[in-house]
């Protein structure tokens, strides 16, 4: 896999932590905060673990806690994927 897309992230988020009833994940959520999307620190920990398993990119604890939006998370993951090449 060369990059992780917003669709990949959507699928992982839903698999790891479901989705809130009043949130439309299919909308453009790149810059919506995880908090607004209904994902707490536990959900993000599970998501980070799944990303490591599926994409091979490790997200250290102190980095994950700073990632507020899907865009921020994807940037870090895809940065890691580029480095791995």
């Amino acid at each position: 896999m060369s990059t992780m897309t917003i669709d990949d992230l959507r699928a992982i988020l839903v698999s790891c932590a479901g989705e809130e009833e009043n949130v439309d994940l299919r909308a453009d959520i790149s810059d919506v905060t995880f908090e607004e999307l209904g994902y707490d620190s536990l959900a993000l920990m599970e998501t980070a673990a799944r990303i490591e398993q599926d994409f091979g990119v490790r997200l250290p604890d102190d980095v994950v806690v700073e990632l507020k939006t899907p865009r921020a998370l994807l940037d870090v993951v895809n940065g890691g994927l580029v480095e791995a090449k």
């Binding site: 707490d40 536990l42 920990m45 599970e46 673990a49 604890d61």
Partner: protein, 422 residues
């Protein structure tokens, strides 16, 4: 006339020594008993330290059959129960068995046996369709662990109410609170109450690794458990157990029993917030403290020592400090507080009972155990946590608290029985 409940016997098994005396010795010396995990190779895990008890079941008097059928947590509970009964001097044979009950707490119960059985049945995780050929006759009792309070009941032939209270990390407080309620309402005159957990097994280590709740001070196991310290980074998983003989007060006095303390108040609340997370305001723990004080007919200013939950996670210690301030106001600043988890680690459901034991012994001996490993101040934890060195001080009224997954918040007040000799 409300019946009162007192502790007349104590039995403890904790890291650092086999027995109540050794346990108290460890606490008052400020030594720690946390070490690198030795029960299995910890190197694949994020957190590699634990509070392991050096427990030899044969030396503890368990028979080969008992050892075969009982999970380790049951073994601890039974050994502690026998110690407590001996300590109490109660002549069990002279009692009506209908008036004796059991209330045993445990969070993960037979986790160790479950894991051992799993590896065999699944061939180390190979088979989802586990193999009937390797099935142990005790497997059902690991699935449904109510055999544990049954084993405790059999030590004295108890025929009154027997139950297991399994409320996660407040089990040890709640099981004793439950027992107190049963004696108060007249459903029993004597209760064997307490808790046991032996969770040092890969699945439990792994599940706390996943949520990063346990410490990563793997290079410094003796100093890894740092409640209230600014550099704390998680709890140290441990195993331990404590059992008590609880009696109705007048009966205990009539037979001239040695009384450690009266349990004068107990209350529990839920934070209904998150299964693992805590808000910073400590509101529900403060409410549990208030309700326990209320039942005890105690003023908050009577509290002379707080035995904290003090697990050593960033969120817990901050939450708890806020709860003490919220419930006790300025008095929280004047009251010595300590966490024995700094020395024996966090045995999940059992530790609440072990901490009740420490609280009762503090009353008996007039010594407040310290918080070990407390060096770096944390502005959010700015109370007197009795750093490093035990404090000789007579205490008549002690508050002990607990907090756990599921949102449970519990509090208990122990005091020197009024009317007792000084």
């Amino acid at each position: 006339m409300t019946r009162r409940v007192v502790i007349t016997g104590i039995g403890v098994r904790a890291p650092g020594g086999a027995g109540t005396e050794q346990f108290w010795d460890l606490l008052t010396s400020g030594r720690t008993a946390t070490r690198r995990i030795s029960f299995f190779d910890p190197s694949p895990y994020r957190s590699q330290v634990a509070g392991e008890a050096d427990f030899d079941p044969l030396r503890e008097g368990l028979s080969p059959r008992e050892i075969r059928r009982m999970d380790r947590a049951s073994q601890f509970a039974v050994v502690c129960a026998r110690d407590a009964v001996r300590d109490s001097g109660l002549d069990v044979g002279a009692l009506d068995p209908h008036t004796i009950g059991v209330s045993l707490g445990s969070a993960v119960a037979a986790a160790t046996s479950l894991e051992n059985e799993y590896r065999v049945l699944s061939d180390d995780g190979e088979k989802w369709l586990v193999d009937p050929e390797y099935l142990s006759p005790h497997m059902f009792d690991y699935l449904v662990p109510s055999v544990m309070p049954a084993e405790v009941a059999w030590t004295v032939g108890a025929e009154g109410p027997v139950t297991m209270v399994s409320n996660g990390c407040t089990s040890g407080l709640d099981s004793v609170g439950h027992a107190v309620a049963l004696i108060r309402e007249g459903s029993a005159d004597v209760m064997l109450a307490g808790a046991s957990d032996t969770p040092i097994t890969p699945i439990v280590v792994a599940c706390f690794d996943a949520i990063k709740a346990t410490t990563t001070y793997n290079d410094d196991p003796e100093h890894a458990s740092r409640p209230f310290d600014g550099s704390r980074n998680g709890f140290v998983l441990a195993e331990s157990a404590a059992m008590f003989v609880l009696e109705e007060y007048e009966n205990a006095r009539r037979r001239d029993a040695h009384i450690y303390a009266e349990i004068s108040g107990y209350a529990t609340r839920c934070n209904a917030y998150h299964m693992t997370g805590l808000k910073t305001d400590g509101r529900e723990m403060a409410e549990a403290i208030r309700a326990a004080l209320d039942e005890s007919r105690s003023d908050g200013t009577e509290i002379e020592y707080i035995n904290a939950h003090g697990s050593g996670t960033k969120q817990n210690d901050r939450h708890e400090t806020a709860a003490f301030k919220r419930s006790l106001g300025e008095h929280a600043r004047k009251t010595p507080i300590s966490s024995i988890k700094s020395m024996v680690g966090h045995s999940l459901g059992a530790i609440g009972s072990v901490e009740i034991a420490a609280s009762a012994l503090a009353i008996k001996h007039g010594v407040i155990p310290p918080t070990a490993n407390l060096h770096t101040p944390d502005p959010e934890c700015d109370l007197d946590y009795v750093p490093l060195v035990a404090r000789e001080q007579r205490v008549d009224t002690v508050l002990t608290v607990g907090s756990g997954f599921g949102g449970f918040q519990s509090a208990m007040v122990l005091r020197r029985p009024r009317g007792a000799a000084a």
